[in-house]
C-alpha cells in the first residue's frame, strides 16, 4: 500500500465548473514526487485538497488516503491533529508565511507542543536543534528574532523547520524556492533534500521549473488544465515523454539543443490545447 | 443577494426623500394642529398612527420630521465636503511639513465629536438649527479630509498621472484633470455615510433639546417629549425612533452598496 493514494479527486469552487477533474496518483513512503505544470493548472489546489485546507466554499470529491486514512470529509477535529504531524506543507511565500508579531522560534516550538506533550524547555531544545538542521547559523539568535529581521532564505528555512520538526510522513512543498534568489534557492533545496532524508519523509514537490524538479524528485506528475496527463519515473519521462504537452515543456527547457540563430521552441510547437472550457482557470 | 444592500439603501433613502418633499406641500393634517381632546389617543380613522401628547396627528409629524433630517444632512455634509475635500487634496498633493501640518490639524479636529462640538456651540451661541448644522459639518471635515487625502495620494502615484506628467502636463493641471474625477466616487461613499451620522447627531441633539426650536418638528424632539409619556403611550416613542433608524440605515446601506460597486476586489473578499 502506498503512503498517499489519491483516487478520482475532483475539486470545484462554488458553482463554477470543477478546477480539478478525476486526479489519480500515489506517493510511496519516502518517495520524491514532482508535480509540474503551468500556473493555473491546479497544482496548488491539489496540494490544498490533500492538506484539507481548501476554502469552505470549495467541494472536493473522490478519495484521498494517507496511510490508509480517508482524508476527504474528515472532520477538522480529527484532521487538524494530523497536519504538522503526519503531513505538513511548505508554502511559496516565505515573506508572509510567518506571523510578524511572534518570535519565529516560538512559532516553531509551538508546533512541537501542539502535537506532543513536552515542556517549554524540551520544545525549545528541539527547535534549536531543528533550526541547526536547516542550516541556520546561530539558532539561538534566530529563535528570538521576528520574521522581518530575517532574510527570505532564512525565513524559508524556518518554515521548513516548522514543517519537518515533527517528522511527518509527507511534506508538500508548493514552489518553496520560487520567491528566492537563485543562489539561495540552491541552499534551500539542499537543506530540503538533506532533511527529507534525515526524517525519511515522502515529498510532493510542486514547481513549474524543470531544473529545480530534477534536483529534488525521482518521479514526475505532469498537470494540465486540472488533470494529470503524464506520470512516471523522472528519467523515463525526461528521456521519453509520451504526452505532447510534456514534450513541449521539455523542449523549452533544453536550450543546449537549440541551434544558434534559430527560433526558441515554445510549448505550442508541440501541443495545441483544445478550446478551453471557461472557468477552469484558477490561480496557483 | 448581489447588491442587496445597495438597493435596500436606495429604497430607504428614496422613502425619506419622498417623505421630505411631499410633506413640504402636503401632510394628512397640519403637524402642529392640536385636535382637542385627542391627546394620547390611539389610531382612529384618518389618523393612522394616532395622536401625540398634545393631540397632534402623529403620522403627519413623523412625515414632517423627515424635512429637518434631510436639511441637516445636506447642509452639514456640504459644509464638511466643501472644506474637507480641498483640505485633503491639498494635503495629498503637498509634500513635507505643510502636508503633515494639515493632517495634524485635521486630527485635532477629529478629537471633537460632532455632538460635543454642537453642545459647545449651543452653549456659546444658543441652540438653533444653524448652529447644529454648522457644528456637525465642522466636526465632519476631518473625515472628508482623510478620505480625500488617501484617494489623492493613490491617484497621484498611479501610472496615468506619471504618464501625463512625463508628457509634459503641468502638475496642477494634471491634478485638476485627474484627481477630482477619480476621487469623486470615494467621496460619494463618504458623503452617504456622513449623512447617516449627521442624522444621528441631529437626532441626539434635538433629543437633548439643543437642536431646532420647539415648533420645528424633529424626530429627536418627538422622542424627548414622548419619553415623559412612556407610561401612557410607548408607541409615541416607537415611530420617530423607527424613522431615525430607517433613514440612517438607508444612508449606511447606500454607502456600503456604493463601496461594493467601486471595489469589486473587496466584494470578492467579503
Amino acid at each position: 500500500m502506498s503512503l498517499l493514494e489519491v483516487r478520482n479527486l475532483s475539486v470545484a469552487f462554488g458553482r463554477r465548473p470543477p478546477t480539478l477533474t478525476g486526479i489519480d496518483f500515489t506517493i510511496d513512503a519516502g518517495a520524491r514526487v514532482g508535480l509540474i505544470g503551468q500556473s493555473g493548472s491546479g497544482k496548488s489546489v491539489t496540494a490544498l485538497a490533500v492538506m484539507g485546507l481548501l476554502p469552505e466554499y470549495a467541494t472536493a470529491t473522490g478519495s484521498i488516503r494517507l496511510g490508509g486514512t480517508e482524508l476527504i470529509g474528515r472532520p477538522d477535529a480529527l484532521f487538524a491533529p494530523m497536519r504538522g504531524n503526519d503531513l505538513s506543507m511548505v508554502f511559496q511565500e516565505p515573506m508572509t508565511a510567518l506571523d510578524p508579531t511572534m518570535k519565529v522560534g516560538r512559532q516553531v516550538a509551538e508546533v512541537v507542543r501542539l502535537h506532543r506533550k513536552s515542556s517549554r524547555e524540551q520544545a525549545r531544545a528541539l527547535t534549536l536543534d531543528m533550526l541547526e538542521q536547516v542550516d541556520l547559523p546561530d539558532p539561538e539568535q534566530v529563535y528570538d528574532a521576528f520574521a522581518h529581521q530575517l532574510s527570505g532564505g532564512q525565513r524559508q528555512r524556518v518554515v521548513l523547520a516548522m514543517a519537518l520538526i515533527n517528522q511527518p510522513d509527507l511534506v508538500i512543498c508548493d514552489e518553496p524556492t520560487t520567491a528566492l534568489d537563485v543562489t539561495v534557492q540552491q541552499q534551500v533545496l539542499r537543506v530540503l533534500r538533506h532533511n527529507l532524508d534525515a526524517v525519511g519523509a515522502a515529498c510532493l514537490f510542486i514547481t513549474h521549473d524543470l531544473a529545480v524538479l530534477s534536483q529534488v524528485c525521482d518521479q514526475v506528475l505532469v498537470m494540465l488544465d486540472g488533470a494529470i496527463v503524464e506520470a512516471g519515473e523522472l528519467k523515463s519521462v525526461f528521456t521519453d515523454p509520451q504526452h505532447p504537452y510534456t514534450r513541449g515543456l521539455l523542449a523549452t527547457a533544453r536550450l543546449d539543443q537549440v541551434a544558434p540563430g534559430s527560433r526558441l521552441p515554445t510549448v505550442a510547437d508541440f501541443y495545441r490545447r483544445p478550446e478551453r472550457t471557461p472557468g477552469t482557470e484558477v490561480a496557483g | 443577494m448581489k447588491r442587496a444592500s445597495l438597493w435596500t439603501g436606495v429604497v430607504l433613502v428614496g422613502i425619506v426623500l419622498v417623505a421630505g418633499l411631499v410633506s413640504l406641500v402636503w401632510t394628512p393634517f397640519d403637524p402642529n394642529r392640536v385636535f382637542p381632546g385627542a391627546a394620547l389617543q390611539g389610531p382612529q380613522g384618518a389618523h393612522i398612527l394616532g395622536f401625540d401628547q398634545l393631540g397632534r396627528d402623529l403620522f403627519s409629524r413623523v412625515l414632517a420630521g423627515s424635512q429637518i433630517c434631510l436639511i441637516v444632512g445636506v447642509i452639514s455634509v456640504s459644509i464638511a465636503a466643501l472644506i474637507g475635500v480641498p483640505w485633503g487634496i491639498a494635503a495629498g498633493m503637498l509634500k513635507g511639513w505643510p502636508s503633515e501640518l494639515l493632517m495634524r490639524v485635521a486630527d485635532i479636529l477629529y478629537a471633537f465629536p460632532a455632538l460635543l462640538l454642537a453642545i459647545l456651540f449651543a452653549a456659546a451661541r444658543g441652540s438653533s438649527t444653524w448652529s447644529a448644522m454648522t457644528a456637525i459639518g465642522i466636526a465632519t471635515i476631518p473625515a472628508f479630509a482623510r478620505v480625500a487625502r488617501a484617494a489623492t495620494l493613490s491617484v497621484m502615484s498611479s501610472d496615468y498621472i506619471l504618464a501625463a506628467r512625463a508628457s509634459g502636463t503641468p502638475y496642477l493641471m494634471s491634478a485638476v484633470r485627474h484627481v477630482l474625477p477619480n476621487i469623486a466616487p470615494v467621496l460619494g461613499v463618504q458623503a452617504s455615510v456622513s449623512f447617516g451620522m449627521a442624522i444621528l447627531a441631529e437626532a441626539a441633539l434635538s433629543y437633548l433639546g439643543l437642536g431646532s426650536p420647539p415648533l420645528v418638528v424633529t424626530w429627536g424632539r418627538m422622542l424627548r417629549e414622548a419619553q415623559t409619556y412612556m407610561f401612557n403611550d410607548p408607541a409615541l416613542a416607537l415611530w420617530p425612533g423607527l424613522a431615525i433608524a430607517g433613514a440612517v440605515l438607508g444612508f449606511n446601506l447606500l454607502g456600503d452598496g456604493l463601496r461594493d460597486l467601486l471595489d469589486p476586489r473587496l466584494r470578492e473578499a467579503v
Binding site: R83, D99, P100, M102, Q141 | I119, V270
Partner: protein, 339 residues
Amino acid sequence: MAGSGTATGSAPAVRGGTASRRGGVLVRILIRLGVFLASLLVASLIIFWVCNALPGNVAQAMLGQSADPAAVRALEEQLGLNRPFFVRYGEWIGGMLTGDMGTSYLTHQQVGVQIAEKFGVTAWLVGFAMVLALLIAVPVGTFAALRRRHWAGFVTSGLSQLGLAIPAFWAGIMAVWLFGVWLRWFPANGYVPLTEDPAQWLAHLVLPVCSLALVQSAVLVRYVRSATIEVLSEDYYRTARAVGWREIPALLRHGLRNASLSVVTVLGLQLTTLLVGAIVIEQVFALPGLGSLLLQAVAQRDLVMVQGTVLVLVLAVLLVNFLVDLSYLLLDPRLRERR
C-alpha cells in the same frame, strides 16, 4: 540575547540590534507625547475661544439676552472679562495646571469639584459598556467572518448593520419602557452611589450600560468581522492551519495579535463615541454624570462650567488616542524599529 560564539562570520545573522531599537522607541514615544500636548493646547484654545471670544458672552448669559448693555459692560468690568483674550486664556490654563478649574459665576460652585464628583458615574457607565460591547462583538464578529458565505453569517452582518442605525438613546428609551415600565426588572432611571448600596448601584446601571453597549457592539462587530476576514486570508494563518492548529485556536494565536492593531484603533474611536453616547444616555436615565453636568450647565448658559467639562471630555478623547498610538509601538515589532 545570546549572540556570541557560533560561527556567524562578519555579517550579523539577524538584522537590527536591541540597543538601537530601544532608542527608536523612546524617540517615538516623545514625539507622540509632543503631538498629544500640542493637540491639547489647540483644543483648549478652540474651546476657550468658542466660549469667550464673542464680546459679552459670559456676562450676557448671566444677565439674560435682554439685559441693559451698560449693565453687561459693568459686569464684564467687575469679572475682568474685558481683558485681552490671551490673558484670560492664560489665567484659565494656569489655574488648570494648579488644579483650579475655575468657579462658576452662576452657582459659585468649583468646576473641578463638580467634575470630580460626577466623573465616576460616567466612567463606570463607559467602562462597563465598553467591556460588554467587546464581550458581545468579538465572538459574534469572529463567527460572522468564519461563516461569511453561510446564511448565518449574512444574518449576523445584517443585524449589525441594523444596530448601527439605531440611536443609543432610542434603544435606552425603549429599554426603559420594556424592562423598567412593563416588566419592572430594573429601575427605569436614577442612580445610587456604589458606597451606599452596591446591589442598587448595579441595578441602576444595567439598563444604561446595556443600551449603550448593544448599539456600540454593532459597530464593533463589523470591525471584528473585517479584521478577522483579513487574518483568515493571511499566509501565516494558512501556515498555522497547515501545522495543525484548528480554526479558532489559529485565529486566537495569530489573529488576535495581528488584528489587535486594528482593534485597538477602533477601541480608541469607540471610547470616544461611547463617551459622547454617555452624555445622551445619562439624560435618558437621569444619571448624575459628566453629561448631565454639561447639559445642565448649557441650559443655564454657565460657560465656565461648560468649558471645563468639555475640556475634560476632550482631554479624555485625546488621552485615549495617545494611548492607542503608544500601544501600536508595543504591539507591532516592525513599527518599533521603523524610524
